[in-house]
Amino acid sequence: MEALTQLVDGFAVAMTLANLLYCLGGALLGTLVGILPGISPVVAIAMLLPLTFQVEPLSALIMLAGIYYGASHAGSTTAIMLNMPGEPSAVVICFDGYPMARQGRAGPALAIAALSSLFAGCACIVIIAFLSPPLARIALAFQAPEYTVTVVLALVGVSMLSDESLVKTLAMAALGILIGTVGTDVTSGTARFTFDDTRLSEGVSFVAIAIGLFAFAEVCAMLGSDVPRPRILSRLRDLMPTREDLRRSIMPTVRGTAIGVPLGILPGGGPLIASVCSYAVEKKVARDPSRFGKGAIEGVAAPEAAANSAAFTSFIPMLAIGIPASTAMALMLGGLLIQGIQPGPRLMTQHPDIFWGLVASMWIGNLMLLVLNLPLVGVWIRLLQLPYKYLYPLILAFCCIGIYAFRGQAFDVLIAAGVCTFGYVMARLDCSPAPLLLGVVLGPMFEENLRRALLVSRGDPTVFFTRPISLSIVILTAVLVLAFMLPAFRRPAPPPTVDA
């Protein structure tokens, strides 16, 4: 029960007035910045990182974490209200959250998202307290072959979400991996596909691709449609989910939490894969899968719970092993190193206050978001309820500035215009953009681990099948693909595409 006492100590540290204020400040700043389209949590952290240099290590980490999950929640908010995922893991929230908003049920969607998030937070804190020592050992058992097959599982998973043919969506994922190879190869230092242009030497900006594929595409779609913009949330009492909403959300929230916990621990897993997987699971276990994509509350509750629990547990590998599980965690790692703290196996023993204080403050921050943010949703929404003729110049300008500010390159904005054009063509050909984005994000990790796995095995591909964890993931992937290809599992009528 040592972990439990340490958790209590963690709460004591996190509850000091200063740390509570940093937590609140981070969460509100994150929400404010995250609600602005085109500013992902990663960008929000990167932008606000300098603010934390003057602060104590734990307070700095608490504030960064607040920005991270504040912006993540905002990501779901924009996904529900505008069909614009503020971050990759909110992509699946668009699938059902936005249809709910179109049906005038944005309020319940937002409320359920916040509630399922909080539930996941509560569950995770207990789980972390009891399981973190053995969980860290499991994470340590993950090596290159496991990482490699997990990336494949994630790409196959997101490809199956699409209603289009598996062939075309898998090709989009492969294309994403290919785009991810642009830039300087970390192992050899070779500049690949950069056409001798230094502006590409750090690769294609992920922000530019995400905005080009999703935000710009959405603006085009909104401008092209003659349908008047759907009325969104008018009265605050609309926020209250119905009893039916709550009943439908309970089990998906529990399942989402259960999926998010292990996936957050695996480097390369994290909120993105967790939300994608939990959505796929809900679609499979649903009595009536055709409701998905048309505003099923389960499609909001489960991914949100999964993303939040994975966000919680994704701190474990970053803090306990020193391996960031995501771009956001990589920035956190950078922030810690600036503070002179080296995350790694000894952090938990040498600085238990930092590990447990952070865990406790994340839970407090979640509660703050629910209590303070949900009533404020009305304010955020009013910001977004401007007539579209005022809104789209704002969205375009913010997106362009966001891309530009991410790396300070006007060239990245041109890339986004190109990506938007390509995405527009491919969307007309029923090729969904989500797998491409995922491929770009996961590509570098896929390459690094594939390379390492085969180097260690001396080129023997059976390395993926002889290790128990790796084999299990391979089998899971194969089962998913087979299940998709068997006609019995195919849905009869394709729901409308919502991810364009």
């Binding site: 910045v33 932008m47 043919s165 062939v167 075309k168 898998l170 090709a171 492969a174 294309l175 991996i177 290919l178 190879t181 190869d185 192992t187 050899s188 070779t190 690949r192 596909f193 710009f216 603006v219 085009c220 401008l223 092209g224 003729k389 005022y390 789209y392 110049p393 704002l394 375009l396 300008a397 913010f398 997106c399 362009c400 500035i401 530009y404 500010a405 300070g408 006007a410 060239f411 904005v413 041109l414 986004a416 215009a417 938007c420 054009t421 527009y424 063509v425 491919m426 007309r428 050909l429 029923d430 090729c431 896929f446 390459e447 594939l450 390379r451 085969l454 180097l455 001396r458 080129g459």
Partner: protein, 147 residues
């Protein structure tokens, strides 16, 4: 002509990109599975794209259900992309204010002549807001004016 033009065009695009990636990767050290060079993964993805593109073409030949490409207006797409390109070209040497004004004008080109003052007001208001928020508020380093 096939009943499934989407599969044909998508397949052709994937095969073309796959071939370009495969042959483009040959200029780097490809290496072997045991000791991968920087060209290995791009070449591998090139092969994967050609195979998947081939499957897509096969689907077009095999499946009988028609799947025509829907017609839609090109105009909003062209205006959005043009305004983004204008922003990209202007931001570094003309500054944020000019870039935002140009972005608003081009993206609203359709209504520019029927509602000139409204568009002007949006452009100026948005430019002021962006300067206040991003430059003064968030302290992002970016040029504001051409001078």
């Amino acid at each position: 002509m096939t009943a499934r033009p989407k599969d044909v065009y998508a397949g052709a695009i994937f095969i073309a990109i796959g071939l370009a990636a495969y042959f483009g990767a040959q200029q780097y050290d490809v290496g072997s599975a045991r000791n991968m060079g920087p060209g290995y993964l791009p070449a591998m993805m090139g092969v994967v794209l050609v195979i998947l593109g081939g499957f897509s073409l096969a689907n077009a030949a095999r499946l009988r259900t028609p799947d025509p490409i829907a017609k839609s207006s090109l105009e909003p797409f062209v205006l959005v992309v043009a305004s983004v390109i204008a922003f990209a070209l202007l931001i570094d040497w003309a500054g944020l204010v000019v870039a935002v004004v140009a972005l608003v004008f081009i993206s609203s080109l359709r209504r520019l002549f029927s509602h000139p003052f409204e568009i002007l007001a949006i452009a100026v208001g948005l430019a002021v807001f962006c300067v206040l928020l991003f430059s003064l508020g968030l302290g992002m380093a970016m040029p504001l004016w051409p001078w």
